[in-house]
């Protein structure tokens, strides 16, 4: 861990040196290519929302691929790749409400794309290749106020619908040890403190909104909440220092949150983080994404196996296997699940009812670790 930390520190020093070097690189300006195999390449996120009361589906992925489909009469979705002025890998796509025309997507090199027509045409709101930092998620509270988070502490906020973005640094996302160390540095020099802060800030991987608070999951066990729309953050302790890649608000109640990540570890709370329940998959594969269903949760992993966690019985079941060797999420379409992964889209028939029967369950250790929520200041 120390080695990793030092490595990142060194990298950042070099980064700053290289910033000017890469500023005017022509290659960054390349638009995404429209190619037939885009739907079979690595896709990183998929969403569904309504536009003019009609379901719209958008998936994003490597090389700036944006694929869009509308509810059709056919059994299969007719995915069409749409133009994107940038070819950097996209990591997340977000629609403002369940019925909207406003969509955002984020990606590598600090890219923020925006569409005002439900994903048909996209333009660049933010692009900073000189930083060499990817954005990992974006969230808008309303048409004006939004937050984008990414790696190496990249944290952006807008109050004008994305026309301008301001960078922020939140020391409160750090562990108590790190904050104590920074306080010592600050005593000596404010400049060193700022350098060290930007170097030490973790990767922020995903945001989730439970109706009241904004939640954040990230590197080295980072889970944090913000009650003031992203202005300030409180770190939560899940007593695990592996990275968390995904976080979702569960439908069980208003304060239910699921967060998951490295080596099959996932954590649940029903009371906004006062008590966390830790679980892990029988295989030590990373959990890349979560899909909340009516009676349970699907866990998409860095392997071919998709897992299903049944809310009532609290048991894990091997749900189905994908062709993709890493999976990144799913949406429901008619009676099918459309999953995404390194091989693009796949369709599966998945019925939760079939997973109620006890004989299908694989016993899994569900250690309930109860701990007092330590609100960090």
């Amino acid at each position: 861990m120390i080695a990793a930390f030092q490595f990142k520190l060194g990298l950042l020093v070099k980064l700053t040196v290289l910033i000017t070097f890469f500023c005017a690189n022509a290659l960054f300006a390349k638009p995404a290519e429209i190619q037939p195999l885009a739907s079979q390449s690595l896709l990183t996120d998929i969403i569904q929302f309504n536009f003019q009361q009609q379901p719209v589906f958008i998936a994003v992925g490597e090389r700036g691929h944006i694929l869009r489909a509308e509810q059709g009469k056919t059994e299969q979705l007719d995915w069409q790749q749409v133009a994107n002025p940038k070819s950097d890998m996209l990591t997340k796509v977000f629609s403002l409400q369940s019925n909207t025309s406003l969509v955002w997507a984020v990606g590598h090199n600090g890219l923020i794309l925006h569409s005002k027509d439900a994903g048909l045409n996209w333009h660049v709101q933010h692009f900073a290749p000189e930083l060499d930092k990817p954005l990992m998620d974006i969230f808008f509270f309303n048409e004006q106020h939004g937050v984008a988070v990414g790696a190496y502490g990249l944290y952006l906020m807008t109050h004008d619908g994305g026309a301008s973005w301001q960078s922020q640094q939140h020391e409160s996302l750090l562990t108590r040890d790190d904050r104590e160390y920074l306080a010592e540095v600050r005593l000596e020099s404010e400049e060193d403190y700022l350098d060290e802060l930007s170097a030490i800030l973790p990767h922020m991987n995903q945001l989730a909104f439970d109706g009241n608070s904004l939640w954040l999951a990230g590197e080295r066990g980072l889970v944090a909440t913000s009650k003031d729309k992203g202005q300030s953050w409180q770190r939560q302790d899940i007593e695990y220092d592996g990275s968390m890649f995904t976080i979702k608000a569960d439908t069980e109640n208003a304060h239910s949150i699921v967060v998951a990540g490295l080596r099959g570890n996932f954590f649940r709370t029903k009371n906004a983080g006062r008590i966390w329940y830790a679980s892990h998959l029988p295989e030590p594969s990373n959990i890349n994404a979560i899909k909340i269903l009516e009676q349970g949760i699907l866990l998409f992993t860095h392997s071919q196996q998709v897992w299903y966690w049944h809310r009532q019985s609290k048991r894990l079941t091997a749900a189905f296997k994908t062709q993709s060797k890493t999976q990144l999420g799913a949406i429901k379409y008619q009676d099918k699940l459309i999953t995404i992964g390194d091989q693009g889209f796949e369709a599966f028939v998945f019925n939760e009812k079939n997973f109620e029967q006890a004989h299908r369950f694989i016993p899994s250790s569900v250690p309930v670790s109860s701990m007092q929520n330590q609100l960090t200041k």
């Binding site: 990298l11 290289l18 890469f22 390349k30 195999l37 990183t44 490597e62 990591t91 060499d132 080596r263």
Partner: protein, 780 residues
């Protein structure tokens, strides 16, 4: 008339020293017979490819770095559908070791689950964990196998050295070009035998099947299939002998053309062996042709001698006369055969060049054996021993008056061809056939049209193994590599790497590309590995150090980069090796590479087995037109020289051209592609096919000069030569049609085409040629 004085001089010379001629031939046959027995099978990889082709220059330049196309893939499959059992792993280990110790295998390239270089990596809370997929302390028990199973999944080798469905595992290796002990070029056939005996023979059981593919194995199987040729050869000799006997009705006379042709064959093989050539599965077919050509010319000689004997001359005189009459047309016919073969030299592929040389030698030898040895040997036959034959023939003639009359009446009927109206009709009909076939032949495809090894039948073991391996693994065997060339350490430069990556993606989207891999695609996965295996980090970092960090973990033995990282291949796995598939991909490379190239970066075609095939296809395509020009040019010049008439030349060449086009239409119809095997056939067909026309027209010419009408001359020419021409056509067709039963697909293809061309050229000479003559000399 100097040519006739030369012929007279030669006639005097050889017939005055008859004993000496016979002695010389006997001696030479002994010497060359010994040499022939020393001939080696030879099937070096480089012989099959156009070495001077642009792609092959790339291929040869990087062969050391990235391995050639000469590899061996051995797939072991467990009948239970699951490899994770102790017996399977035991066999896999043994096969790995066995392959390692086969002489000529590049030992560092042997790869399987048991190679220490096959490693897995996984991300744990405090960094990376990893090791060889099969640990040093591996025991084939439940725990050990479960651990290996888990490691295999982490190693990213599923679909590469382990089948997609875990029912098979692969051991692969590259072969060296030269034997490391002897320094001689590698004996491919010996390696194939070792693979068959020490690997398939040892390790194939009821529960484990062994599937072996690769160039060496293919050559081995082809060589094994080629042995069947000997049986066909014996059959062809027997049938031909029966034909000759039927034709000349004398066992004694039958022996002469057969013996002389066999001598020609022995000489040919002996000379080749003395010159240091070997015999390969393609050139093994040539003795058939030489034998058939020899017999057909020999029969012309017998025919002439018997005709002379019938007029009452004694045998020596009859032979001398036959030599005088036949020396010129025989020489022209054989020389044009010879030139037909030599034009094939224009194709820059070793195996075809050797074919051209050995065929030319063969035909050259026939000139000696059948035009010189045979009449001289015939002249030794005692008149007395033939008197019974002649008597019998006269009796038979009297008896078969009716029959002979019938035959003559048959010829007589053909004279209708020479009526202007019929001649025009035949010509018009031929023209229609030509137009139809020409249109059809435009669809003739270059290259191999079917999956698997084209030399072998679809249901052969080798091709079945190929299909199995292609199906079970994610990689196809039809690999096309494009080499990105840049300055040293190019792999740490984002611009270069990113351009390679973008080009690879562009190419991956071309129809016919199944999947692709390059240093960039691997570097992206490693980059995500450094970020806790999060797939959202599968990008090339624009930061030099981060990029270097990802690339540093890729060893040069992966074949994805050379030592100083100045050459990076983009490896494309194609769905098949049909010429149009490869051409489609290559066209995209040629047209679009400029978009990605820069001062530091160029892309070069091509390596990998499909690269070699593409180069071969291009060489064949390029050679097609010049070869036809040369072969027809040679035929036309020879005809002009011998007939001194443009019209006569046209009359001989047009039917030939019609048959060439019809043969191409037949190839299209039968889905036979234009390959290194079928391309020479067209030249052979023209070179040999011209004989018929020359024999018929020379004789007609004689009669016309004597003042006969065209019709009369035609009928007389048919009476004199028709039987022999038909006989020749059938003899040649019989000789090559036995190939139809061969185990080797290309021999079948060649057999079909040659049989077709020999028969149709014969018909062309008998039917279309006189019709054309009639039309061109309407008044005679």
């Amino acid at each position: 008339m100097s040519i006739f004085s030369i012929i007279n001089f030669v006639e005097q010379l050889i017939f005055r020293h008859r004993q000496f001629v016979i002695l010389f031939f006997a001696l030479m046959t002994c010497v060359l017979g010994y040499q022939a027995s020393q001939i080696k099978l030879d099937a070096a990889f480089t012989k099959n490819i156009p070495l001077k082709h642009e792609y092959m220059q790339t291929y040869l330049q990087y062969q050391q770095d990235f391995g050639g196309a000469n590899n061996v893939l051995i797939s072991l499959c467990d009948s239970s559908g699951d490899i994770y059992n102790p017996a399977f792993f035991d066999s896999l280990k043994k096969v790995h070791d066995q392959l390692f110790f086969i002489q000529g295998v590049s030992r560092s390239s042997v790869k399987s689950l048991f190679s220490p270089s096959v490693r897995f990596t996984q991300v744990v809370e405090d960094g990376f964990a990893g090791g060889p997929v099969i640990p040093a302390n591996f025991k084939a028990d439940n725990a050990g196998l479960n651990q290996v199973k888990r490691n295999v999944e982490l190693s990213g080798q599923v679909g590469r050295i382990v089948a997609n469905d875990y029912s098979c595992a692969m051991v692969s290796a590259q072969l060296l070009e030269f034997d490391p002990q002897t320094g001689e070029s590698l004996d491919t056939i010996k390696i194939a035998k070792e693979l068959e005996n020490t690997i398939r023979g040892e390790f194939e059981t009821d529960s484990i099947s062994v599937h072996i593919i690769g160039f060496a194995k293919m050559v081995g199987d082809v060589a094994a299939g080629a042995k069947g040729v000997i049986l066909f050869f014996i059959v062809a000799i027997i049938i031909t002998t029966l034909f000759v006997y039927y034709f000349c009705k004398s066992l004694k006379l039958t022996l002469f053309p057969i013996a002389c042709s066999l001598i020609a064959m022995i000489w040919k093989v002996g000379i080749l062996s003395s010159l240091g050539f070997g015999i390969d599965p393609m050139s093994i077919l040539l003795p058939f042709l030489i034998f058939a050509i020899g017999v057909s010319h020999g029969v012309q000689m017998i025919n002439a001698v018997v005709k002379n004997l019938a007029t009452g001359s004694e045998i020596k005189h009859a032979s001398q006369q036959a030599f005088k009459v036949l020396a010129l047309p025989g020489l022209i016919a054989l020389v044009s055969d010879c030139i037909g073969f030599l034009t094939i030299l224009s194709i820059d592929i070793g195996i075809i060049k050797e074919l051209a040389i050995s065929a030319s030698i063969g035909v050259g030898v026939i000139i000696l054996t059948n035009l010189i040895l045979m009449p001289v040997a015939l002249s030794f036959v005692k008149d007395a021993s033939l008197s019974r034959f002649l008597q019998r023939q006269q009796d038979a003639q009297a008896l078969q008056q009716q029959q002979t009359h019938c035959i003559n009446r048959g010829w007589q009927k053909l004279h209708a061809i020479c009526k202007v109206k019929n001649a025009a009709l035949i010509t018009a009909l031929s023209f229609v056939v030509f137009v139809v076939c020409y249109g059809y032949s435009n669809n003739l495809k270059v290259g191999d049209l079917h999956a698997g090894a084209p030399a072998l039948h679809t249901d052969s073991r080798y091709n079945q193994d190929t299909f199995l391996i292609t199906e079970k693994y994610a990689v196809s065997v039809d690999i096309l590599s494009i080499i990105a060339e840049s300055e040293p350490d190019a792999c740490t430069q984002f611009d270069t790497m990113s351009a390679i990556d973008d080009f690879q993606w562009r190419l991956s989207n071309v129809e016919g590309v199944q999947s692709s891999v390059s240093l960039t695609s691997v570097a992206k996965i490693i980059n995500s590995g450094f970020n806790e295996a999060n797939p959202k980090w599968r990008v090339l970092s624009s930061n030099v150090d981060t990029l270097a960090q990802s690339v540093a973990r890729v060893p040069t033995s992966s074949g994805l980069l050379n030592g100083d990282c100045s050459a990076i291949p983009i490896i494309l796995f194609l769905t098949d090796h049909k010429a149009e598939t490869m051409a489609r991909v290559i066209d995209v490379v040629k047209v679009q590479k400029a978009e990605f190239e820069s001062e530091q970066l160029t892309f070069r075609l091509a390596s990998g087995p499909a690269g070699v095939m593409a180069a071969t296809n291009e060489a064949v395509t390029e050679a097609q037109v010049p070869m036809m020009l040369y072969v027809y040019g040679a035929v036309i010049i020879l005809c002009l020289l011998s007939f001194k008439s443009i019209k006569a030349t046209i009359a001989v060449v047009l039917p030939l051209y019609l048959v060439s086009i019809m043969a191409q239409a037949l190839m299209t119809y039968m889905q036979i592609g234009l390959t290194v095997y079928t391309l020479p056939v067209i030249a052979l067909g023209v070179g040999i096919g011209v004989d018929y026309g020359i024999y018929i027209l020379t004789t007609m010419n004689d009669y016309i000069r004597r003042g006969e009408s065209i019709e009369r001359a035609y009928i007389d020419a048919l009476k004199e030569r028709g039987g022999a021409v038909i006989f020749t056509g059938i003899t040649l067709a019989v000789g090559v049609s036995t190939w139809l039963f061969s185990d080797l697909k290309f021999q079948v293809d060649m057999g079909i085409l040659l049989t077709f061309m020999f028969l149709l050229n014969m018909l062309g000479a008998i039917i279309l040629l006189p019709a054309l003559v009639r039309l061109m000399w309407p008044k005679q």
